[in-house]
Symmetry: C2
Subunit: 168 residues, 2 copies
DNA sequence: CGCCTGACTAGGGGATGCCATAGCCAGAGA
DNA sequence: TCTCTGGCTATGGCATCCCCTAGTCAGGCG
């Protein structure tokens, strides 16, 4: 251990304790960042969570140019977070809309976690601009790390260990 | 509403329902991304969560050059996620270490949420490389959006509304 | 006093992200 | 058939991110 004092960080167990022997290139966080690691990609996902579907709404609401929106949306479709789907309003021509897939929808906790962190530490004097609540009980929502038994887990109580490989 | 069918997305209530009247530039998610919106910044935070403290360990384990590590670490210190602290091992010269602040520590749920999403959708055939568990009960941890009453909340059950401003 | 090491800084260059302006194409309405 | 609009694509340019290869600086040790 190269810990000097007992700062609450995660505990690495098993082979991971020798950090430099472990290749971080398989890290799922790194892989996730390859897909949604840009500002524009994550903000486009925010819009998708808010129900935006049309190309120019995405571009305008995120505040990026249509060229960037086209590139980024194509990337998100290719990665599987959104699907392109033609639709038709009566009296209008056929259009494409970008709709969340389950994979895209499952990114919501990460986006909410980032938003919550921003609310807490980066909001201006007026406080956070929006509040997320549970439609059922009207209580505000928050994101937390919990274990299967339902305990909320602090960083200092997390252990990190190598997973058993699915394949030999 | 420009919803075509009932996809489970968040429901915007009040003034927010007219999306284009709402300026997204105060969005906390956007602000968070200004701080940790780059791949290297988030991966440096991952290392910090794992207990890394020394400059060259950060650079080597994240797989970035020392120049990038220096710039990014300075940014994280300036933003308040890490502090620089001199320390001294006996017989060694004084060094600087980078230690998590409470602000940095509170980013952990967002990082875990992204990692969990990557585990689920982006892992290779071997499955995710590491498993996070609760030190107390050994159960794997996961990140979820919950309300104050403890209910796990799906995206479709989230409402988004304007916050009451802290200041007039 | 001079070497060595840890912790950076400097410089040069390629790739990506973003912006602004302009153009293209399909299809509905006139 | 002509026009208009939504939904993109194209071009050119600046900024940022990242890499690689040095070089610098402080301080403990021989």
């Amino acid at each position: 251990m190269d810990q000097i004092d007992a700062e609450p960080v995660a505990t690495l167990v098993g082979p991971l304790a020798r950090r430099d022997d472990w290749a971080a290139d398989r890290c799922s966080l790194a892989k996730a960042l390859e897909v949604v690691g840009t500002r524009s990609a994550m903000l486009l996902m925010r819009e998708a969570f808010y129900g935006t579907r049309r190309f120019d709404d995405f571009a305008r609401r995120v505040g990026i140019t249509e060229a960037v929106a086209a590139t980024r949306l194509r990337g998100l479709v290719d990665a599987g977070l959104l699907t392109r789907r033609p639709y038709r309003e009566p009296g209008r021509r056929t259009r494409q809309e970008y709709v969340l897939t389950p994979m895209g929808r499952d990114l919501a906790p990460a986006a909410v976690a980032l938003m919550q962190w921003g609310d807490r530490y980066l909001a201006d004097a007026d406080g956070p601009p929006v509040v997320l609540a549970h439609a059922g009980c009207d209580e505000p929502v928050h994101v937390a790390v919990t274990c299967a038994a339902g305990h909320e887990v602090a960083l200092g109580d997390v252990t990190v260990s190598v997973a058993r490989r699915r394949t030999a």
